[in-house]
């Protein structure tokens, strides 16, 4: 074959490829594309079981699109076309309405009569009971639902086919929010039960790989670790019918490729982008960036408050005065977050939490405190971060190392592989580190219970304080708002003074979208809810 013929044939093959690729009539293809949403993410759903164990964060999005719950959080507009869930208000999803008894101990839900599962079977109170029984029996969902006093199958009663009752030992303000989480998803009980075995009465093996829902979308194909294709369930009654017919959720590990696909118009939503890419996208008109402060989370620097030298509160305060807050927020996170430092000294401004701490970079004060604690020359200590978090944590660690050197504290930076990070935190083996974390709910007492007490991983500073424990116990069941605020403000004061850890900033949830997408709603799970999205 000579060269010319080779080139001719090559280009013929190439143009054949182009023609075949668009073999659909152009308008039909455009139509299909318009009704389809393509989401690119770094990770993928790994389970279809809302009560499953070891489910990835992306699975939460699947649970919300594929399953319905009795209730969901209502939403409020943040900026044109962008919404956020409203923690205080609920709207029925499978329940048309619900009633709370005067003593708050009985919740009665009246189910929609026309709702069906994806296989056409009507949704009944028996399905709701079976699903909640399952939720409080399987370990992962059990623990979360217990925070809302949902603990025992005997609490759930089927009154009639469309009426369902929950009995509580005492009125609990965390019951309804828990019922709006994916852990309280309602499964098609007959379908799931037909796949149960004696060894696996809750059909966990089957549900992991097969949805049994009645939500707005059903799963067309599910490839763990790669992609999920959703199609709209036209019989959905839990809300107004979604505009999108199809959604494709795909894993693209490289952030720059996610951005490129978005800018080329091949993708509609790009998630988990590093600050640098988000900054670049903010300047273009070919994409828009949604930024929602996640008020249930924080980025922080933590230390082991039970071991030297951080068992001395003055050392912890010295660190809180020495951290280069502004440089960190701007340098490591390009300013994308709300500052949790620099409040005026004194009492907390409100009972909101996390809120700015009364610390700022004041090296003289830091040195003085160190000297008082008996470390006038400083000390040496290791400072760790999770390699999986390196985009942000690596520059942050370097900035912190440089800043603390000024007060004589020499840091040796340790990069910890992601697989090992959880183990080291659980075993309390990290003396000093940077991380971020979030809780499901925004109430300060809930937040405090997770992060500032207990012998578990989430108490990052291994903090112990008797007064705090008492205040939290009191606030847990307090129904008088004023008394609650008082207790919480005292608890926040303790956190300010004792510094169980040093918060840096409130992270923001960020997603880059095609400019014509409207109605993006940030829900508690931090994933993409396809139901309210529209294309103008």
């Amino acid at each position: 074959m000579d060269r010319r013929r080779f080139i001719q044939q090559g280009s013929a093959a190439f143009s054949l490829g182009t023609v075949a690729g668009t073999s659909l009539p152009l308008s039909a293809w455009a139509q299909a594309r318009k009704d389809t949403l393509r989401v690119l993410s770094e990770g993928a759903p790994n389970s279809q079981d809302p009560h499953g164990e070891g489910v990835s964060r992306e699975s939460l999005g699947l649970f919300f699109n594929v399953y319905d719950r009795l209730v969901n959080f209502d939403r409020a507009q943040l900026s044109p076309g962008v919404f956020k869930y409203d923690y205080g208000r609920f709207r029925g999803e499978l329940a048309e309405r619900f009633e709370t008894s005067a003593d708050g101990r009985t919740l009665t839900f009246f189910l929609r009569r026309d709702a069906t599962f994806h296989d056409g079977k009507p949704v009944t109170a028996a399905d709701v009971k079976w699903s909640l029984d399952r939720a409080v029996s399987l370990p992962a969902s059990k623990r979360q639902l217990a925070t809302g006093s949902l603990e025992n199958p005997s609490q759930f009663t089927v009154v009639d086919a469309h009426t369902f009752r929950i009995a509580l030992p005492r009125a609990d303000r965390y019951t309804l929010p828990n019922l709006a989480l994916s852990f309280a998803s309602v499964l098609n009980s007959e379908l799931a039960k037909s796949h149960a075995t004696a060894a696996d009465p809750w059909a966990t093996e089957w549900v992991k790989a097969h949805e049994a829902g009645g939500g707005a979308f059903r799963i067309e194909s599910f490839t763990p670790g790669q992609q999920v294709v959703y199609t709209r369930f036209d019989g959905w009654k839990g809300g107004s019918a979604p505009q999108l017919r199809r959604a494709v959720f795909q894993v693209v590990p490289s952030a720059s490729n996610r951005v490129a696909a978005l800018l080329k118009g091949d993708a509609d939503v790009a998630l988990q982008l590093p600050p640098k890419d988000l900054d670049a996208l903010t300047d273009t008109t070919r994409a828009k960036v949604v930024s929602v402060p996640v008020t249930t989370s924080f980025r922080f620097v933590a230390f082991n408050t039970q071991a030297k030298p951080f068992d001395d509160v003055r050392v912890r305060q010295a660190i809180a005065y020495a951290l280069p807050y502004t440089t960190l927020l701007r340098g490591a996170n390009l300013g994308r977050g709300e500052a949790l430092y620099g409040a005026r000294p004194g009492k907390p401004a409100s009972s909101r939490f996390p809120q700015p701490y009364p610390y700022d970079t004041q090296l003289l004060k830091a040195k003085e405190l160190l000297a008082q604690a008996g470390y006038p020359q400083g000390f040496k200590i290791s400072f760790s971060y999770n390699v999986g978090d390196a985009t942000l944590a690596e520059p942050a660690a370097l900035l912190i190392q440089e800043a603390l050197a000024k007060i004589g504290i020499a840091l040796s930076i340790e990069k910890v592989p992601s697989a090992q990070w959880g183990t080291l935190q659980t075993e309390k083996k990290l003396p000093f580190f940077i991380d971020s974390s979030s809780a499901w709910f925004n109430d300060p007492d809930y937040f405090f219970r997770i992060f500032f007490q207990g012998d578990w991983r989430w108490n990052f500073g291994s903090f112990k304080n008797d007064e705090l424990a008492k205040l939290l116990e009191q606030a847990r069941w307090e129904t008088d708002r004023a008394k609650y605020d008082l207790a919480i403000q005292r608890a926040i004061e303790i956190a300010f003074e004792q510094v169980p850890l040093v918060p840096l900033w409130l992270p923001t949830f960020e997603a880059a979208l095609q400019p014509d997408l409207q109605g993006f709603t940030y829900y508690i799970h931090g994933q993409v809810d396809f139901r309210p999205l529209t294309r103008s």
Binding site: L16, G17, A20, G21, S23, A32, R33, T36, R38, L40, N46, S47, G52, E53, G54, V55, P139, A140, R143, Q144, T147, K208, A209, T223, P224, G225, Q226, Q227, V229, V248, Q250, V251, V252, P253, S254, S256, N257, A260, A261, L263, K264, A267, G388, P417, S418, A419, Q420, G422, T423, T426, S437, S438, A439, W440, I450, G454, D455, W456, R457, W458
Partner: protein
């Protein structure tokens, strides 16, 4: 020794290698720091008792030799364990993903041979010519620049700037219905189902990753072809053939045949290496192969897929080496008779 007996004895010799690999990877993954149970229970509601429960269920609380025994027993029954990142049995995962890796590796390998063999030959025939210089530049460049840089550069230029290449995501356009899975090889499946739109999409998506992969596998094959051919061209038989006035074409054909042995060996090694080490390329192009699977597992303290991956790669190495040995016998009959 007859051919059949040689094959059987060679295959028997691989059994201890594979058994050793299984034991070695088991020990290696279990001395790695990082507790899978703590990782699994990393939801915001997991406490110490839950971690202990998971550990007991996964059998991680048993002594290491007992765990190893259980692992080998399961392996003997064809159970490669369960992945907790994908929620599927490891064997299923690997079986689904191996064709993707093989397809990409084969495409890149063919590309490598198509470029490296002529280039190496041309460079050897005309040392210090423009061809030789080009060969040097290409091989040095390809092996010096990290493959992910080449990959990202290709994506930036050919997808983002020029728009000639399709989106560098996966094996087929997400908007096209994939062909029914028969072999797992996307091109073959599309051709079998006469789905030419899928075939074109899959072929287009294969292009950039295989070029990026070929860039680094080019160097060893091209350099070795050149060196081997240079040696042969200077050897006595070729000089004699030339002196006898054989036509240059016939001389070259003979020389190429003689030069082939080391090239086949290196090409075989390059192929095995490409298959196991294309993790970076798979990550950049969101290619659902076994390399990215193993990397995800490593990040998630997911031991079973990691062990499965190493075992599978060991198996592939053994098979490729075996094939090379057979090929050697075809090229040079002396090899077989000596063994």
């Amino acid at each position: 020794m007859s051919f059949a007996r040689r094959v059987v004895s060679r295959l028997a010799a691989t059994v201890p290698v594979l058994a050793g690999t299984a034991v070695f990877t088991f020990v290696l993954t279990h001395v790695l720091p990082g507790d899978p149970a703590a990782f699994l229970a990393s939801g915001p509601n997991a406490g110490p008792e839950e971690i202990a429960q998971i550990r007991a269920r996964m059998g991680l609380d048993l002594p290491l030799p007992t765990q190893l025994w259980h692992y080998l027993q399961a392996l003997a029954h064809g159970d490669w364990g369960q992945s907790h990142t994908t929620g599927q049995p490891v064997l299923t995962d690997l079986w689904q993903r191996l064709p993707a890796s093989l397809e990409l590796t084969l495409a890149a390998f063919v590309l490598t041979l198509l470029v490296a063999l002529p280039l190496g030959t041309a460079a050897a025939l005309r040392p210090r010519s423009l061809w030789d210089r080009a060969c040097t530049v290409l091989t040095v460049g390809g092996s010096c620049v990290p493959s992910f840089v080449i990959a990202l550069l290709l994506v930036y230029v050919f997808y983002f700037l020029l728009g000639w290449a399709p989106e560098p995501t996966g094996r087929i356009d997400a908007m096209i219905e994939p062909p029914p899975v028969r072999s797992g090889f996307m091109l073959l499946d599309a051709a079998l189902a006469l789905r030419w739109d899928a075939f074109a999409s899959a072929a287009g998506r294969l292009l950039l990753p295989s070029v990026a992969m070929a860039a680094f596998s080019l160097a060893p094959v091209a350099r070795l072809t050149r060196a081997s051919l240079l040696g042969v061209l200077r050897s006595d038989p070729v000089r004699t053939a030339r002196a006898l006035g054989l036509p240059p074409r016939a001389v070259l054909a003979g020389a190429l045949h003689l030069a082939l042995l080391p090239v086949v060996t290196s090409a075989g090694m390059v192929f095995s290496y490409m298959l196991s080490a294309n993790v970076v390329i798979e990550k950049v192009f969101a290619w659902p192969g076994i390399g990215s699977y193993a990397l995800d597992a490593l990040m998630a303290a997911d031991h079973a897929p990691l062990q499965g991956f190493v075992l599978l790669v060991a198996l592939m190495f053994v098979l490729v080496n075996f094939a090379i040995d057979l090929l050697h016998e075809r090229i040079d009959p002396r090899v077989g008779s000596v063994a």
